[in-house]
């Protein structure tokens, strides 16, 4: 995805109270991996899927008495957008790093614990990949760490 391409932007405003809808929207945006451009302004690289995702967040905002508008925009300042992209990439890189680290610490665990952790980390990788819009270089390392763990001889069976 090129950095100079279109972005879909959501500008929204929600009442401060009650706080439950505000935090529900915040969690949803966090899970989508949006770029936080300002107070109540978020963006994602535009494609039909991200556009729909933000449309439904907008719907949730208006359902709770807030205001939301969706925009399609192209950055004019490529340096500034690079910083935004770097920030998004750093966030997912940290998530991939945590997965790889956890996989590494489990190498000496017993077989049952390893199987459980492998299953959970594979799901986690899938979740992170959903918000990895720029194919972060840590993705492959994290995937390898988990698959290495999956293929590890469990400590108990070594002779």
């Amino acid at each position: 995805m090129s950095r100079a391409e279109d972005w879909v932007l959501l500008a929204y405003r929600l009442p401060r109270v009650p706080s439950t809808p505000r935090s529900a929207v915040w969690r949803k945006l966090k899970r989508l991996g949006v770029a936080w451009l300002g107070d109540g302004l978020v963006a994602l690289p535009a494609d039909p899927r991200t556009r729909e995702q933000l449309e439904w967040v907008a719907e949730e905002v208006t359902d709770h008495g807030g205001e939301a508008t969706l925009w399609l925009g192209r950055p004019l300042d490529t340096n500034a957008i690079s910083q935004v992209v770097n920030r998004m990439t750093a966030a997912v890189a940290a998530e991939y790093g945590a997965v790889a680290a956890e996989a590494a610490t489990m190498r000496t665990a017993d077989a049952a614990a390893q199987r459980r952790v492998v299953a959970r980390l594979r799901r986690e990788l899938h979740r992170i990949a959903g918000r990895d819009f720029f194919t972060c270089s840590q993705r492959e390392a994290a995937r390898r760490a988990v698959e290495t763990l999956a293929a590890t001889d469990p400590a108990g069976s070594r002779t």
């Binding site: 039909p48 439904w56 359902d63």
Partner: protein
């Protein structure tokens, strides 16, 4: 009657269209409109922003439609609601392992379909099969062989 939704149908719209055709309006005619201003007069919108049959209270449009049409007493449809929810939103509200496969199949289908009507013709068959599978599984407590 006429029913309107956004073009480029994916899982939630395909599931709603199937539900409407099978359980609500066998003569349903589907039209596609990019936004609510382009909906033909008299058509009932679904899975569009601002539509009653849309995402509300954390539910996907299919789940909203089930409740709205009074079909939520059918446990097989409820179960399909969980699958469609996870295929569409992937927020892990439900345990629905079939969702990932359904998402991929329909996304792939839309890449090769000639039109949204073409997509719906295939997804209708898919959901017929999913419904039958789910119904039998609920009846016997085991996945049908």
């Amino acid at each position: 009657m006429k029913w309107a939704t956004r073009p480029g149908v994916h899982v939630d719209r395909a599931a709603c269209a199937w539900l409407i055709r099978r359980f609500v309006d066998p003569a349903a005619e589907f039209v596609f409109a990019a936004d609510s201003a382009a909906i033909p007069a008299g058509a009932r919108p679904f899975d569009m922003r601002g539509a009653a049959l849309g995402h509300h209270q954390g539910r996907c449009s299919f789940e909203t439609a089930l409740a709205s049409f009074g079909l939520d007493a059918d446990p097989a449809l409820e179960e399909i609601g969980c699958i469609v929810h996870e295929a569409d939103l992937a927020d892990e509200r439900y345990d629905a392992p079939a969702a990932a496969g359904l998402d991929v199949l329909i996304r792939g289908l839309t890449l090769t379909s000639g039109s949204d009507h073409d997509t719906l013709a295939v997804t209708d068959r898919l959901f017929d099969g999913l419904y039958e599978h789910t119904r039998r599984q609920l009846m016997t407590g085991r996945p049908p062989a």
